[in-house]
Amino acid sequence: MMVAERWFMRNYMIKRIIWILPMLVGISFFAFVLITLSPSDPAEVALRVNEIVPTPEAIVSMREHLGLDKPFFTRYVEWILAVIQGDFGNSYVNNKPVFQEFMMALPATLYLSVVALIFIIFVSVPIGVLCAVYEGSIGDIFVRAFIFLATAMPSFWVGLLLIWLFSVQWGLVPTSGMQASNSVILPSFILAQTYIATYIRLIRNNMIENKQKNYVLYAKARGLKKRIIYKHIFRNSLTEVLTALGMSIPKLIAGSVIVENIFAWPGVGRLCVSAIFNRDFPIIQAYVLMMAVLFVVCNLIVDIYSALLDPRLRQAE
């Protein structure tokens, strides 16, 4: 990298990181406002989830306890200052610290997402490449039909079907839970299913596009082996795929809600769903904020990575 380019990269990174700050403030404000917009009174909800009859006196004392009697901006500033120190408040339902609840649920979701990511890579890369190499063959048509179906099928439905087939009929895996070592296979596959379809299509199309480029023609003219040529095509097609994959990671973590519920997986998705049903506002707020931060950070990493990899992006800036 030349000196000018390095200087440019540093400026680019600083600019992007500075931009994150107002975004985070905006997101945190949004997460906070959401609760205020809810038709249910948080004080009343906090009473009701503990089966306390919400009498007017009980509501007043709960409002004081939760600090809801303070002005809106005071509450926001207090909340955000506490959040910066890792204190998201306590759950209305069990009174445990929200942060602790998240930390308990997060490993399960991460485990699920990592295995799903492995599925995505190991299934979509070979199939995508083969489809590009044998473009227009029966196999390619079959895979394209599969992609069409896989993106259209809702994951809860596929999930139940696969439980019936692999678990009830063939007895290969347990129906749900994460107690057995092989119980991760089905839920992670279901989580990966739509992504697999997307990536097969992305890899296939990118490679086919690259095949038309001049460098391929020159390589052919030089008499290079087909395998070597495809290796180059594959490498050049990867940039876009990796960028998309980077953005898929937060989506995998945030998108595990349905899968976690069907498969009784004790992760953050289930934590969030039960919080929504109980109107456990501190957990909902923390979930919205954490997921938004995850997206922003992953987006930043992907952007910087793309800028590093592709000189054209830097020049465009």
Partner: protein, 527 residues
């Protein structure tokens, strides 16, 4: 070469995963373990609070007395006497019983428990008993006296409930109290909570030192499965042995009937436990007219709901509370489906039929809204059924399914014409259920606000609960139930039952008086 070895590694890993970790059903049975699936985790089973699952609380903690089909039976109290004025209850505590942490169960421990409950009055506002307790006294090491402010007649019944009057070892108290949580779950019940993995499962092990008939099954695994469909699949696979639930929570009726027909599983229905009804808000423009409310009683074909929607698993309800409920065998007029009579009543009330097939009064269409809990498929189907019945009489019924919390908000604000309602069921009916009618946060209160004698009704309920004379009490109940029936604030539909589906190897399955308890201690596997 590198890629090949990675691919090979992954395949090998997958195969290893697939081979190990598949515990078979036989392994489980030989271990004498029963797996019960629930959509909910047991959570915090502190017996003095409401955060945990009742069935789990009832397995571990015991009351002074038990409420059974044959009346009140001894629990931790071997015997008891009630003073002539009904104000003091003297309990003789069973000697030699220990909490599972080794603490002795004595009068002092009982006093500490009951005092801990009473210190947290606002949490128990639904239970009038807590307000009626004046104080408790330790008479001697094994004699405890409970003194009431008024002769509250359901005292023994309410002491027997699954919560809050169940006994936990005083060693588990936090700072001498239980309202801010407990340090452990040492009770005296037939099972001990030995392992709890949050949101995954809980293991209950048989209490070998239990004072009564010891449980037959060694361990109970409470498996959490949030999705009812997954529960059904797990049952088919033999991963779970028992499904148990009251109101379409664990298992919906269609699946129940399908499983019953399949013949591979045993299925059982309890006696009627609670009343399914539609609450008619007398505090709203259209339904404030008693004649309109009466017409609604004749519009709905309850037989059709019981047989068509509920597959004959529930019986038609003619009155809000079943005559089998204590004090509820009151002679009341039976109102059977009669469309013509309904039409007549609506005509007399001034709602005349228009060309569009709906009724109008002073240019206003007869449009009412029914709200139900959207998570309950059964409630939706019943609501749709009612909608078509109403249409036949010229009433437009809008049905709106709402999430539980929104539904409760509406209940509290009284912002509904009609709302789906379920009584509390035995053993809370009639005393606790009627008592709750006096609390503004309840839909019943809001719907009854439009009644001319609402104040009388509330006072009468209060007086009935402290009426020492049984006959006088009965006549007060007669008055209350007759008034409510005449005013047509409830449209009783059916009496609901608790359902159990289980593997045929499991024997001894039955029901407790409370639909929220599961009598695991009586179950066993056929050898």
């Amino acid at each position: 070469m590198k890629i090949r070895s990675v691919v090979f590694g992954v395949i090998l890993l997958c195969l290893t995963f697939a081979v190990c970790g598949c515990g078979s059903e036989n392994d489980r049975l030989s271990k004498n373990e029963l797996v019960y699936a629930s959509t909910k985790d047991i959570r915090d089973i502190n017996p003095h609070l409401y955060g945990g699952e009742m069935a789990a609380q009832a397995m571990v903690f015991e009351p002074l007395v038990y409420d059974t089909k044959d009346g009140i039976k001894p629990g931790l109290a071997e015997s008891w006497e009630v003073s002539a004025d009904g104000l003091s209850y003297t309990f003789h505590i069973r000697q030699g019983v220990k909490f599972t942490d080794g603490e002795d169960v004595n009068a002092e421990a009982i006093k500490l428990n009951i005092d801990a409950v009473c210190k947290n009055k606002e949490r128990h506002a639904w239970l009038d008993m807590v307000n009626q307790i004046d104080h408790g006294e330790v008479m001697d090491a094994y004699t405890y006296r409970l003194v009431l402010k008024k002769p509250y007649y359901p005292t023994l019944k309410e002491l027997a409930l699954s919560r809050p009057f169940r006994m936990i070892s005083p060693k588990c108290f936090k700072d001498g109290d239980t309202k801010n949580g407990v340090n452990g779950y040492a009770g005296t019940g037939p099972y001990i909570l030995t392992e709890h993995k949050d949101k995954q499962y809980a293991i209950f092990t048989k209490n070998k030192d239990y004072w009564g008939d010891k449980a037959k099954i060694e361990t109970i695994k409470w498996q959490v499965m949030p999705d009812p469909q997954t529960i059904l699949l797990a049952l088919k696979k033999g991963e779970i042995d028992l499904l148990f639930g009251a109101d379409g929570d664990m298992i919906d009726l269609d699946s129940f009937t399908a499983l019953q027909k399949e013949g591979k599983y045993a299925a059982m229905l309890s006696e009627p436990v609670a009343s399914r009804a539609i609450l008619i808000n007398a505090h709203r423009p259209i339904s404030s007219d008693r004649q309109v409310r009466e017409a609604f009683q004749y519009v709905v074909n309850k037989e059709g709901i019981a047989n068509g929607v509920l597959n004959g698993t529930e019986t038609v309800a003619d009155t809000l509370l079943s005559p089998t409920v204590p004090y509820c065998n009151v002679p009341l007029e039976r109102r059977i489906y009669d469309l013509e009579k309904a039409k007549q009543l609506l005509d007399t009330a001034g709602w005349s039929m228009n060309e569009d097939g709906y009724r109008y009064k002073n240019g206003k269409k007869m449009l009412v809204t029914l709200y139900f809990n959207s998570n309950n498929a059964q409630e939706r189907t019943i609501s749709e059924y009612i909608q078509s019945d109403m249409k036949a009489a010229g009433i437009e019924l809008k049905i709106i399914g709402e999430e539980k919390q929104a539904f409760l908000d509406r209940q509290k604000n009284g912002d509904f014409d009609l709302q789906y309602s379920l009584s509390w069921g035995t053993p809370y009916d009639p005393q606790s259920y009627l008592s709750s009618w006096r609390i503004p946060a309840h839909g019943d209160y809001q719907a009854q606000l439009g009644l001319e004698k609402k104040k009388w009704l509330d006072d009468e309920i209060g007086l009935t609960l402290v009426e020492p004379d049984k006959d006088k009490r009965q006549s007060r109940y007669n008055e209350i139930l007759t008034y409510i029936h005449q005013e047509c604030v409830y449209l009783p539909l059916t009496y609901s039952r608790t359902k159990a589906v289980y593997t045929p190897k499991l024997k001894g399955v039955g029901f407790n008086l409370s639909q929220y308890e599961i009598p695991f201690e009586k179950m066993y596997f056929e050898k």
